[in-house]
Amino acid sequence: MSRRLTPRMWLIAFLGIARRETLRFINQRGRFLAALVRPLVWLFIFAAGFRAVLGLSITPPYQTYVLYEVYVTPGLCAMIQLFNGMQSSLSMVHDRETGAMRTLLVSPFPRWFLLASKLVAGVIVSIIQVYTFLGIAWLWGIEAPPVGYLTVLPALFLSGLMLGAMGLFLSSTIRQLENFAGVMNFVIFPIFFASSALYPLWRMNESSPLLHDICAVNPFTHAVELIRFALYARLDLLSLLVVSGCLVLFFAGAVIMYDPGKGLWARRKGGA
């Protein structure tokens, strides 16, 4: 058996990691349902209630007044990806606790490649969830232009990578599953609520300029806007740049943290 890593072997390794993630996803049907129930509750209950109290002016990419359900749909797509990224992060911590992570890390492939493969595999799973959600929303009467369902794909891939990389980076700092609740409270919820997912930024500015500024620099806001514009076959260049930049930063941070020579995590006793 050859010991030199050929391009074919790299592809096999990537497919193997993607297959394992998919198998785990299939085996955990509850995870799929939970990922769908959360945004659907927001869409069917929260959005229906807010429709009456929250007025929306015409803001790009919309060319007319839109219902609150229509406005909130891209935010809920990003929400699915955010929670999927955190689920992947949780699964990394779980793998570390059970020892399964060691199997991955003692592979002869470079660690950045193993992490990137895991990241991409997680994004593929999140995109399946988003399209299922968009399908249900479509049945509910929330429709984007037909071409939007195609143009949103690269945006979903990029935003999924950024949010997954953020989860990967977070997972390197968490030592035990018990600490994950803290991450949910101090990272995930603030990131989600301090964004344009549920309310437009101009609305935020009316109530608190400071909060508006916080939301404007939140990378999740840019992930939401990237998806929102792409769903209407348009490109928000600023969001594209911010999401791409954050992806590079988070992924580089994760690679450094998982590097046995540089990472803080590997230096701790019993780290792996």
Binding site: I17, R20, R24, T103, F109
Partner: protein, 265 residues
């Protein structure tokens, strides 16, 4: 302290005869060579200037009580931790400079269970094969072969969560063998097993060594060591003895260990 490989006892190419110098050089390389490796966690020094070798095709026991530094040493050999001092070579490949080549030659059975309990034995094996660049099609016959070796051929499609402790351990050994490693690292593989399962796992590993695999077996159980085995006694991060188990001390391992470490094992 340092023992030369059993396969080639000469130190020069002259004695290699018909095998030629290149093959002889390969045979001379130890399966594992560790030179002057230290490792600390903050102010706690877990390993102190450790040097040892594991010859090719032999069974070498790494004996030490809990906290001796066995798992830290394994984590350094598998590059879960970075060795910032000294040098580690697996089959002649420097772990820092040629980590891919070195890790490709290692099969590892960790102290804690590393199989995914939600997947079947076959799915776990295929995943491990993929992590070494082996496709499912190529891996299938090899999986059948290694599962037969560990007497688990009939558990191919069973979920790992349904395996007994002994079966699970044997499945881990099979997983570690899929990519045909030159050196098998086993970190206290019999912990938590009943007497019968423990004996099975020890016998299985010895049979693999007979087939040509080199094994480094970390343990704190003296019964698992035989007089002909290589033996390294590790205590508080230091190598206290290294050689043939039958030749260290006066041949009575229990007494020798007590004399060297001051602790019962």
């Amino acid at each position: 302290m340092v023992k030369r490989s059993r396969l080639c006892s000469t130190s020069s190419d002259e004695g290699c005869g018909a095998f030629g110098p290149r093959l002889c050089q390969m045979q001379q390389q130890d399966a594992l060579s560790i030179q002057n490796v230290s490792h600390s966690f903050g102010s706690f020094q877990a390993l102190k200037d450790v040097s040892l070798t594991v010859p090719r095709g032999g069974f070498t026991a790494l004996l030490g009580v809990n906290g001796a530094g066995k798992t830290t040493l394994f984590s350094l050999i598998t590059r879960l931790y970075d060795n910032r001092s000294g040098r580690i070579e697996v089959a002649g490949h420097d772990l820092r400079r040629q980590s891919g080549a070195a890790l490709a030659r290692l099969g590892v059975v960790f102290q804690s269970r590393a199989l995914d309990p939600d997947l079947t034995v076959a799915q776990n094996m295929e995943y491990h094969a993929a992590l070494h660049g082996i496709s499912r099609r190529e891996a299938r016959p090899r999986i059948a072969e290694v599962l037969a070796q560990v007497d688990l051929a009939d558990r191919l499609n069973a979920r790992v969560s349904s395996l007994s402790g002994g079966q699970s351990r044997r499945a881990e050994i099979a997983r570690a063998l899929i990519h045909r490693p030159e050196l098998l690292l086993l970190d206290e593989p019999t912990v938590g097993l009943d007497v019968r399962s423990r004996a099975e796992v020890v016998a299985l590993t010895r049979a693999l060594v007979q087939d040509g695999v080199s094994a480094l077996w970390a343990t704190h159980i003296l019964d698992e060591i035989r007089p002909g085995d290589g033996l390294i006694i590790l205590h508080k991060g230091e190598v206290l003895a290294h050689g043939n188990a039958g030749e260290i001390g006066d041949g009575d391992l229990t007494r020798t260990f007590l004399r060297l470490t001051g602790e019962q094992v």
